[in-house]
Amino acid sequence: MQKTIQAIIHATSHIILGKEQQVKLSLTCLLAGGHLLIEDLPGMGKTTLAHTLAQVLGLGFRRTQFTSDLLPADIIGVSVFDRNTSSFQFHAGPIFTNVLLADEINRATPKTQSALLEAMEEHQVTVDGNTHLLPQPFFVIATQNPKHHIGTFALPESQLDRFLMRITLGYPDAQSERALLKNQGGRANASSIQAVCDADGLLKLQQQVHQVHVSDALLDYLQALIQYTRTQTNEGLSPRAGLGLRQCAQAWALIDGRDFVTPEDVQAVLPSVVAHRLAQDGNSNIAKQILDQVAIT
């Protein structure tokens, strides 16, 4: 099991150079069964990361470029009248896959965004009164440009909350940059990569995450963190966010090869889990503030 995880990270890191931490976090998010939001400037490797992950995990992968004229039906699918059978036939949209890359999600209109987000929460779509289940596992990896870019619709808070994690990639370091320039990584090589896992393997790993032990001492710490956000900041973490934090910490511990969660795990995942939920008032240091203020029990 541990081998699989290490292989996934190793393979992905071959493509996404010098971003092992981000690769680990993305995998954490997928292992915890949540959707991932990658926020960064264009050309930082967001799409590559999503694409690579899907490929390494051996999952079905679809990519949809979100634009302002994209309609919900373009993602979910449409019912088309079939003259032969004299009935409506549902033509599944790109959402029927394991990993949906919603590229530049904040370029779409709120209507389209919410159609996607509903599917994310329910793991099913309903068209013309018929409910269609999405394949298992199902992830959305959305990428978005920073809000201040022209032609974007900021995701509302309620929808941000549906993303378990938000990560940013940032510029590569000098060494990785040089390797990249030498054409030793990046998207060009992504298609050559071998899958080291498959959908069943991933579901098993997800099962494994639930087995990671969370001690009472750690629950105390988690509660203190959640309580701190509720009393000392304008908006507190929702119970869903609290659960998500626990699951991410468990997944992180699993990736680290442990069967119990330590405060280090919580601290490692906390910025990615809480920052997009709490930073509404522009306080970008909120995660650091929480971690510095709350004592470890």
């Binding site: 001690s215 509720r230 009393t231 119990f260 969660v261 330590t262 601290q267 510095d292 203020q293 470890i296």
Partner: protein, 653 residues
């Protein structure tokens, strides 16, 4: 501290201030109460509807108006009542600029002070009881702002309970401070003049109606505890001011006391020893049983054998005294005294004078007996509601109305004696008393006030004659309630009906008496006596201070010790071992930050102490496993203990 008030905080503050205001209602003028309530309501509405706080230029005129109001009501800023009113109204005005928790604290501290001010008005058990509720509320209000947890902020019952607990925990410290805090002789600070208004007691003159008015007052004049035998009830004459001088309807003490010879007393029989606890009455009289021989300190004997204090009695006085019931007083009567004790105004009360002159030839004793016989045989009535008397009051009373109270009998008798040529004077004071079996002492009330006569006989000196006893022997034998038909005029406590009420009252009074003796009466002398009994040594101020500070220090030290121990007991074994390890690291100047995890701290420590890097990381790993893994092996703990024992920080590192 500069957090803003929440509506929850404000509600607590307003409610507790309202209760504090409630306890002070009898001490404040109506407009101050109304103003305070309206400021409080205003503040509530500001919060309720999110209106803007009033600006300083709006508050300034209000402050000015209040100051003028205080000056007009109390004729100035000084004195207890004016200061209290000012404090109350300013405290409630302060609410209108109370925004942050710092302001909130200020108002609470002021409110605590206001509760303390209750004791400037009186120091009874009831006041003490009254102060408890506001104290708990104020403490709860303080607790309320200390909670960061919104859920606990809302739990009223929990907060009140915690406040009561905190106050209870303060009781031992309070008791130690009470017993050991050095008492300064006399009051700690001078109470302003108006603090003594409203005290009742005997006046220094006697007019018709004086004493019968006093009789309607059930306030306690003094309490007496006899040390050995208790005299007969008809001997319980408590001597107060002696009145010599008659002017129209009023009797006063002699107009000029200069040159009057002190009377000499000869006593015989057994001494009566007793302890008096005199309630403050703002006059000089220190009442003593007839005839006093041992008088308390800070008091002196007047020439006519009443005892006066050197300054008005404004605090409760407790003193030991000795009296004798058989005595001879003033065997020789000086010429000035004779003139004074025979003084009546020419032309007044002709019928009385005529009657007295008709007794010419009789001896002095016979004159007295004839007069008393007249009171006894003619239809004289002892009543609280005597009719008004005309311009010759003694005539009108003796020959016409024949209805009167002790002052009528005493004055008419003395007048009659003086007209008949027998030197006589009026003595005022109290007669009788009520026995309280619960505390084995006597209660004497204002309603026991009395006036009687003393006549001077050659060879016997001044002899007490009580004409009231001739008219109404029950008054002297059984007390005032037996002597009157119209008992409804009397205060409730002097009435004979409701025996259970009486019993309850006597119980309550004995509690009160104990409070007076042991709590309020615990002055410098008592303190020294008590500590001497306790320690067997004479203690001085320094001893007391040192003792007080050290006992409190010991109590606080013990409390802290147990609290810390309790805290430690909550730690599990791994945490305890790890705490030792942290102590070691502290010597190298390494302490974990608030949000720093064990591993992160270990990494930092390993950087600082590279020689022990492996050990430090090992300890951290193992500690994490023990603390957070599902079922750590017991061996791990032992291994951790071993590793930590290996770990040493050299100071050089």
């Amino acid at each position: 501290m500069n957090r803003l008030l929440t509506p929850q905080h404000l509600k607590w503050l307003l409610v507790s201030l309202a209760v504090v205001l409630g306890t002070h209602i009898p001490n404040l003028p109506l407009w101050v109460i109304m103003a305070s309530i309206s400021f409080g309501t205003w503040r509530y509405l500001l919060d309720r509807y999110q209106w803007a706080m009033p600006k300083i230029w709006a508050l300034l005129p209000i402050t000015l108006i209040i100051c003028v109001g205080i000056i007009v009501t109390f004729k100035g800023f000084f004195g207890r009542d004016a200061s209290l009113s000012l404090l109350v109204v300013m405290c409630s005005l302060k609410l209108l600029e109370t925004k942050t928790l710092r302001d909130y604290m200020l108002v609470i501290v002021l409110a605590y002070f206001l509760v303390g001010n209750l004791f400037l008005f009186n120091q009874t058990i009831a006041t003490f009881g009254l102060s408890i509720a506001p104290l708990i509320l104020l403490t709860a209000t303080l607790i309320n702002i200390s909670f960061k947890d919104a859920g606990k902020q809302r739990d009223i019952q929990f907060t009140l309970k915690l406040a009561a607990q905190l106050l209870l925990q303060a009781v031992p410290v309070m008791l130690i401070l009470f017993v050991l805090f050095p008492r300064i002789p006399g009051p700690l600070w001078g109470l302003p003049q108006d603090a003594n208004s409203g005290m009742t007691g005997l006046g220094d003159s006697l007019q018709f109606g004086n004493i019968s008015n006093l009789t309607k007052n059930s306030a306690i004049a003094f309490r007496v505890q006899f040390k050995n035998a208790v005299p007969e009830r008809n001997q319980l004459y408590w001597r107060g001011p002696v009145l010599w001088h008659q002017e129209d309807r009023s009797w006063t003490m002699s107009s000029s006391k200069i040159g009057l010879q002190p009377e000499i007393a000869k006593v015989s029989g057994n001494p009566i020893q007793y302890t008096m606890t005199l309630e403050p009455h703002n006059r000089l009289w220190m009442l003593m049983l007839d005839l006093p021989t041992l008088i308390p300190q800070d008091a002196r004997l007047t020439h006519d054998y009443s005892v006066v204090a050197n300054k008005p009695v404004r605090t409760r006085l407790r003193y030991d005294a000795i009296s004798f019931s058989s005595y001879q007083l003033g065997l020789s009567l000086g010429e000035r005294e004779r003139l004074l004790s025979l003084q009546i105004n020419e032309g007044e009360n002709p019928k009385t004078v005529q009657l007295a002159e008709s007794w010419q030839g009789l001896s002095a004793v016979d004159k007295i007996n004839t007069a008393l016989k007249r009171y006894r045989e003619q239809p004289f009535v002892y009543t609280l509601k005597p009719p008004r008397l005309d311009d010759n009051p003694v005539d009108d009373f003796l020959f016409n109305t024949k209805r009167g109270f002790c002052e009528h009998y005493a004055t008419s008798f003395v007048y009659l004696m003086r007209a008949a040529g027998v030197p006589a004077r009026i003595v005022t004071g109290y007669q009788g008393g009520e026995y309280n079996p619960n505390g084995n002492y006597y209660i004497v009330r204002q309603s026991d006030a009395h006036a009687w006569a003393e006549v001077w006989l050659a060879e016997r000196g001044w002899v007490r004659v009580d004409p009231t006893a001739a008219v109404s022997p029950e008054r002297i034998e059984n007390g005032i309630s037996d002597a009157l038909d119209e008992t409804d005029e009397l205060p409730l406590m002097a009435r004979p009906d409701y025996p259970w009420l009486k019993k309850a009252y006597l119980n309550w009074d004995s509690v009160n008496n104990g409070w007076n003796q042991w709590v309020l009466g615990y002055d410098d002398k008592k303190q020294l006596d008590f500590l001497k009994k306790l320690s067997g040594k004479n203690l001085n101020l320094m001893h007391m201070l040192i003792g007080m500070v050290s006992i409190i220090a010991v109590i606080m030290g013990l409390t802290t010790y147990f609290l810390v121990k309790q805290q430690k007991a909550k730690l599990n074994p791994a945490q305890r071992i790890y705490a030792q390890y942290l102590k070691q690291l502290k010597r190298a100047g390494l302490t974990p930050n608030n949000g720093e995890t064990v591993l992160h701290f270990a990494a930092r420590a390993a950087d600082a102490l590279p020689h022990q890097q492996t050990l430090i990381m090992d300890i951290a790993q193992r500690y994490n496993i023990i603390t957070y893994s599902a079922s750590p092996k017991p061996l791990l703990l032992e291994k951790l203990a071993q590793l930590i024992k290996q770990f040493h920080v050299n100071k050089q590192q």
